[in-house]
Amino acid sequence: MAQVVDSVTYPVVTVASQRIAEAIGSSVTETDTLLYSMQRGRGLAQVLETESFISTRAYSPGGVANFSVRGTGSQHTQVVWEGIPINDPMLGQTDLSAISLGGIGQVRVLYGSAGMTNNSGGIGGTIELIPQEKRTTDGFDGKLNVYAGSFGTYGVSVQLRDSYKKVFGTTSVEYQTAKNDFTYRNLASIKKEDKKLEHAAIGRIGFTRTMGVRFNERNSIKASVYYAQVDREFAPTMLMASTNETLFDRDIWAALNWNRIGKRSKVSVTSSYIFGQQDFFDNNNYIFHHLYHANKNLLRYELRLKHDLHLELGGDVFNETARSDSAYRHQAHWRFWQAAFASLKYVPKKWVAAQVLIREDVIDGAFSPIQGLVGVEVKPLRWFYLKGNVARNFRAPTLNDLYWVPGGNADLKSETGFSGEAGLGFRSETERFKFNAEATYFRSTISNWVIWLPIGNVWTPQNKRAVGISGVEARLETTARLGKVLIRLNGAYTWVSSKIIEGATETDVSVGKQLIYVPQHQAKANVSVHLGKLYFIYVHQFTGLRFTTSDNKDQLPAYQVGQLSVGYAYAIGKHTIGLGFTLDNLFNTEYQTIAWRPMPGRSFLINLNYQFL
């Protein structure tokens, strides 16, 4: 939700904010606390699928997961942790399933160029992983969650928070394993007989630790470390022979942040180290090693020029290095990335706000297309608001695009995106009833779209296509309190037309066709009923048909899945014990998110949690 909608008070000069500021006039969704706590054990892809306008697809439960935000691809969305973009520079994207959510307290999605106040490259959007909040009072608290479910799923996670005088910290540990050996109907066989999925196990370990010191009212320093490793077997499709392929991912992120808050200003300096490792073992047990690490430094300065005028300046200096035995023939490649932006926010009245932002990135000495954003929000009535923005963004080629051997194209241009959105919303709140509805129309054009095609017999990335996107996002959030009963109903619908408008060749048959795996229609809803310590939640998701070839001649059918949960929490003093039971895929829907890769039918998960304050 943008600034005017929440409150007209400035978002600056707050100590607790661990969030990147979204641009004015843009759309943002945040995970619901209860739903997030239920879904986090299933991974980030499931969290986003349930609670955002994002469409995800996975090779198997917990397997490599790609996604689409506003009709774009995974590479068009930046994933951000502690304000630091953490997309793999080799692939230019983040595998949602490789993320450990143990230390993540909330996930926000900033749509379109809403994240430009922090980073470039998010043409589709920005996914922000927000670490768990620190304690604000002295003491120690913790949560323990243990769960077990169908198909050999087991997991445990612990979150601890401590605070003593000036020192505060958070710790999380997560372990999860799943065999994923579910039975599915083999549609590729004549008799369509049942078959058990093989070689789809996953094992994940995650650890985070944050330590900080509040020196005084104005100065604080914080160090954060994130470690995650995921071991995954690659399951065969319904048409493949058995496989022995496995993938090992390891990610280490570390950040040191200093904050200084003045009467009218705020300075934030972050220095970070990002490490990523992928070891892929093929059927011949040959290992492909990919390794990257980066040093990323961010400076942010905010200044209230006048009571209604707010300036933000930012600068980034990144050093990225990647090495690969197969992709780069054991060579290492570097990239030096600098960026600067300036943003001016103007809030002349409580009911109107505007923003102008300009940004420039310099990559290895080459200037990116100039980026910018103009956004406006107006709230003419207490319960009604309008908002919109126009923006220009870009996405730099990945290191694989530039240096792959053979075929890397050092002359590849950045993709550039022009986007605009306009929305309106209604918000009403009484003691017993809360209502919020919002609809946004968006439109964008991405030119110099990168596509890998052979020149001669060598696959080479080329700036050959352009993509035109338009769509609508609509959502409804209601909460009603009837005596001791709390009822919540949330719904969201999105329609996306994401089509190739310029072909790679004169005879490109994909022109005018929807991008593959981008559903035109997607809807989700959840209803929850809370009766004191007891709750029931039903989540329903609809995903429309998805084309699987660029000429749109082949497709995957639409599907709907339901999830039902019931839980009970019992509190004794500072101690709370909860028990939850969830039925996934309630109607035992047979569906695929990637062609010929089955997803599980009806399954269950039991979780036991304990919390002390």
């Binding site: 590729a188 004549i190 022979a241 059927n283 990919h290 001669g456 017999n457 660029s550």
Partner: protein, 338 residues
């Protein structure tokens, strides 16, 4: 797309596709003899490999004929096809199998399974055939009649195309940078020669000489066109391609006096004159080439963006364009039936 690309191209990796239900169109073809099969790889892990058939009498192209007749998808990455007698043998690489069909009506006769990553078949006799493999370090021997695996020939690494000569089978040992010679009487390796890095495609000419294309290790050294004498395994001629060129799909006409290959467009070289061509014989988008042994008609497959239906172009032997057909996803090899 080779598996080598698997990880770094995860984004491209998602370009898999499928047709969940077999094509509804009934090919309504009386016989699958005297025509041309077009083998479609489909996308790696996309499960959309397919088979098209061109009836040369009617010039009618029928797509997805295997799935139409047999009510199951063909598999994942169809690599190549040969005919032995009245049967067709379709090698489906990433499904680890060979689908065997009756050429009269294309009904499935059986499936040879348990293969690791099969690539190409070389027919030795009615009762013996070899199938090369990417990963298994063996060439499998099978009986085309009983469909039983009857033995293996140990090799070092990946083996691609093979050809039967009067003195044995010559096999492109891509993984070992060697060309193997196999004694077909006892199915053993008897000789080998280093012709450069990455020998992959080969063909035998009218003089019984074997022409081999190497890929140069995709940048390790220039790709080469090498001619060897299969009798003594001596290298007789070597042509180097320019840096950055990676030719593939070498074929001959029926007479065996003209070589064709793909290197962007279609190139050809007279075996007698051995004048290495500097320009394309046919300038066209091309993935693979096939030459009709009956009349020398040139068939070219164009995979477009490798994620949508491709095209097959036909040219007369002199290079004059004849016609174009829309086919399936990633058309590659051609198999001519009599």
């Amino acid at each position: 797309m080779k598996k080598l690309y698997l990880l770094p191209l995860l984004a491209v990796f998602t370009l898999s596709s499928c047709k969940q239900d077999p094509d509804d169109e009934n090919p309504n073809i009386d016989s699958f003899t005297n025509g041309v099969f077009v083998v479609h790889e489909g996308n790696f892990q996309g499960g959309n490999a397919s088979l098209s058939f061109l009836n040369k009498y009617t010039d009618e192209m029928s797509n997805s004929v295997f799935s139409s007749v047999n009510s199951i998808p063909l598999g994942d990455v169809a690599q190549s096809m040969v005919t032995i007698g009245d049967r067709g043998y379709i090698v489906v690489n990433n499904s680890g199998k060979i689908e065997v069909v009756d050429l009269e009506d294309l009904t499935s006769v059986g499936t040879i399974t348990g293969l690791s990553s099969p690539r190409y078949i070389c027919t030795v006799s009615n009762s013996t055939a070899y199938v090369s493999d990417l990963f298994s370090n063996v060439i499998n021997i099978f009986n085309p009649q009983t469909l039983a695996i009857t033995g293996t020939i140990a090799v070092n690494g990946q083996v691609e195309e093979m050809v039967k000569t009067s003195s044995g089978v010559i096999a492109a040992g891509t993984g070992a940078d060697r060309v193997y010679k196999i004694n077909t009487l006892n199915n053993t390796l008897i000789d080998s020669v280093n012709v450069g890095v990455g020998p992959s495609n080969l063909v035998m000419d009218a003089n019984g000489k074997v022409w081999i294309l190497t890929n140069g290790g995709w940048g390790t050294e220039p790709a080469k066109l090498v001619c060897i004498n299969p009798v003594n395994m001596n290298i007789e001629v070597t042509f180097n391609f320019a840096s950055g060129e990676f030719p593939s799909s070498i074929r001959t006409n029926a007479a065996g006096d003209m070589l064709y290959w793909v290197n962007g467009g279609i190139y050809r070289m007279d075996v007698a004159s051995m004048t290495f061509p500097s320009t394309a014989f046919i300038n066209t988008a091309a993935y693979k080439v096939g030459i009709d042994p009956e009349d020398g008609t040139i068939y070219v497959s164009d995979a477009g963006d490798f994620n949508s239906n491709g095209h097959v172009y036909r040219y007369q032997a002199n290079g004059t364009a004849i016609d174009t057909f829309e086919v399936g996803v990633i058309p590659s090899e051609f198999c001519f039936t009599e």
